[in-house]
């Protein structure tokens, strides 16, 4: 049984190894400019490490995501809870949000540069926009979908409005908020790369455009993509681990 488990666990690793092998063979059989080989990408990563750029750019990107996403969390969740609570029946703000939400954060790039210039602030602003609306909508819908029994039970035990928010609304929306946080962190990580291609001179997005512009270093381009993928995966795993907290997880185990 143990051997079988090990085999099962090795399956994704084996699959990746097969893909890498196919990639390597394909590049060897059709040498050209279409794609660097896996070995060249590893070489690119080593280059980046040697020049101290990899660490610097990762930190720069994470720094922007932390601020942009953090500000969005701090503003969108309380605002969403309030809007959701006071507009459980009425939806005055809904149309405005619905119009703003489908506008890609990338469409804001010119305005971001106009307002904040080329630099961290622009990138942070774009990331903020990218995560703010999904989070706001999640919070609003989460409050609206709280079953009346919880609210009534809270009122029955004599809770005042502030206590009701703190002791009933907030815990009741956490499972849905966690999903919203996971999705919007993913969006933030998508947006940072795009923002860095245009609005700043550092970070993983900048690395990708810079490597191409400065001499078609596609090994560095793909290396940058791999790093973005791995860090995105790690961020998602970190968010998922929050869902394992027992007092957060209740809605998943509910029958």
């Amino acid at each position: 049984m143990k051997d079988l488990n090990l085999l099962v666990r090795l399956r994704p690793v084996a699959f990746i190894a097969v893909l890498l092998a196919i990639w390597q063979v394909a590049v060897m059989r059709h040498p050209g400019q279409l794609l660097p080989s896996p070995w060249q990408v590893v070489g690119g990563l080593a280059d980046l490490l040697r020049h101290g750029l990899l660490f610097k750019y990762v930190v720069a990107s994470l720094f922007r995501v932390t601020w942009g996403f953090g500000l969005a969390v701090i503003l969108a969740i309380p605002l969403g809870l309030i809007i959701g609570w006071y507009h459980r029946a009425d939806t005055a703000l809904g149309p405005v949000i619905e119009v703003l939400r489908p506008i890609s954060p990338l469409a804001w790039i010119p305005i971001a540069i106009l307002w904040f210039g080329v630099g961290d602030l622009s990138a942070i602003f774009l990331i903020f926009l990218g995560s703010f609306f999904p989070l706001l909508l999640t919070a609003i819908n989460a409050v609206r979908s709280i079953p009346d029994v919880y609210v009534n039970a809270g009122r029955n035990f004599g809770l005042r409005p502030l206590d009701l928010i703190h002791r009933v609304l907030y815990p009741a929306v956490i499972p849905q908020l966690l999903i919203g946080l996971r999705i919007s962190l993913g969006v933030a990580w998508l947006v940072v790369v795009a923002a860095e291609m245009i609005a700043v001179n550092s970070g993983l997005g900048f690395l990708i455009v810079d490597a191409r512009n400065a001499g078609n270093r596609y090994d560095l381009v793909v290396a940058g993509m791999v790093v973005i993928g791995v860090i995105g995966l790690l961020l998602d795993m970190a968010m998922r681990s929050l869902e394992k907290v027992k007092s957060f997880r209740w809605s998943y185990s509910e029958d």
Binding site: N152, R155, N156, F157, A172, I174, E254, D255
Partner: protein, 266 residues
């Protein structure tokens, strides 16, 4: 409460000045998408302190709405509800509403749920009450468990414990055992009677189950289909524990069956 020994009488007006809970010409009308739906009509009912009253009626007749107005979650469109002779304006911890088992807070443990209404007590007193009510509803060993780890019957007992822990005068139960399997339901009825006899709370219990009503209640309030009004109030003059095969039990039960207009044969 009553001195009537006759099994059935059709008075809907008990003496209201000594009542724990009373409704006065209570009416309720809902407005849905332009339509006006009368739900409750001219409900006059008095419940004595410590009495166990069942509201019995077909599903959707408005008996839950009546219970919600008693709790203060809904305001009647006409008439009023009085508790201790004061008009009910909103929910109050002195009368706790017990929902079906989904009313427990799933993000709190058993302890956390029971302690929910005890925030103002000292830690010592709070711990004492938690221990007391965990014991009373038989959830020892599950203090740290979350509701998702409990069975339906255990969740229901937890909700009763949470309600009792704040020491209310009155429990309002809305088809509390409706979602349970029939064996668990019987056990829960037994438990509820045991707790009622120990704590002597006033209980108003909504059900659509005739047997349940006759097994539990001092008086059964039989309600009509919507718009609900009181058809009849039946006093169940059998002492607990009730023998559900006794002639008197069957007579009272069959009387209600007939009253509701159900043939007693399948």
């Amino acid at each position: 409460m009553s001195t009537q020994t006759a099994g059935q009488h059709s008075s809907t007006r008990a003496s209201t000045d000594t009542a724990k809970l009373s409704t006065h010409s209570l009416g309720m009308v809902f407005h849905r998408s332009g339509e006006t739906i009368p739900v409750l009509e001219n409900i006059n009912l008095a419940v004595a302190d410590g009495e166990f009253v069942c509201l019995l009626g077909p599903s959707g007749c408005g008996k839950s709405t009546l219970l919600n107005t008693m709790a203060g979650f809904l305001s009647p469109t006409s008439g009023e509800v009085r508790v201790d002779n004061e008009i009910v304006q909103g929910p109050d911890p002195r009368r706790i509403f017990v929902f079906q088992e989904r009313g427990v807070f799933p993000w709190l443990t058993v302890e956390g749920n029971i302690a929910f209404g005890l925030a103002n007590l000292t830690r010592q007193e709070r711990d004492r009450r938690i221990a007391h009510y965990v014991q009373m509803v038989g959830l020892q060993g599950f203090e740290k468990a979350y509701p998702s780890e409990l069975s339906g019957g255990m969740k229901q007992r937890l909700e009763v414990a949470r309600a009792l822990a704040v020491n209310p005068d009155m429990l309002l139960l809305d088809e509390p055992f409706g979602a349970l399997d029939s064996i668990t339901r019987l056990t829960m009825r037994h438990e509820l009677l045991r707790i009622w006899q120990a704590e002597r709370k006033t209980i108003v219990f909504v059900t659509h189950d005739i047997d349940e009503a006759v097994q539990l209640a001092d008086r059964v309030v039989v309600m009509s289909a919507r718009p609900a009004s009181i058809r009849q109030i039946v006093t169940i003059d059998i002492p607990h524990p009730r023998d559900i095969s006794s002639a008197r039990y069957l007579e009272l039960r069959d009387g209600i069956f007939a009253q509701i207009g159900l043939a007693h044969k399948i």
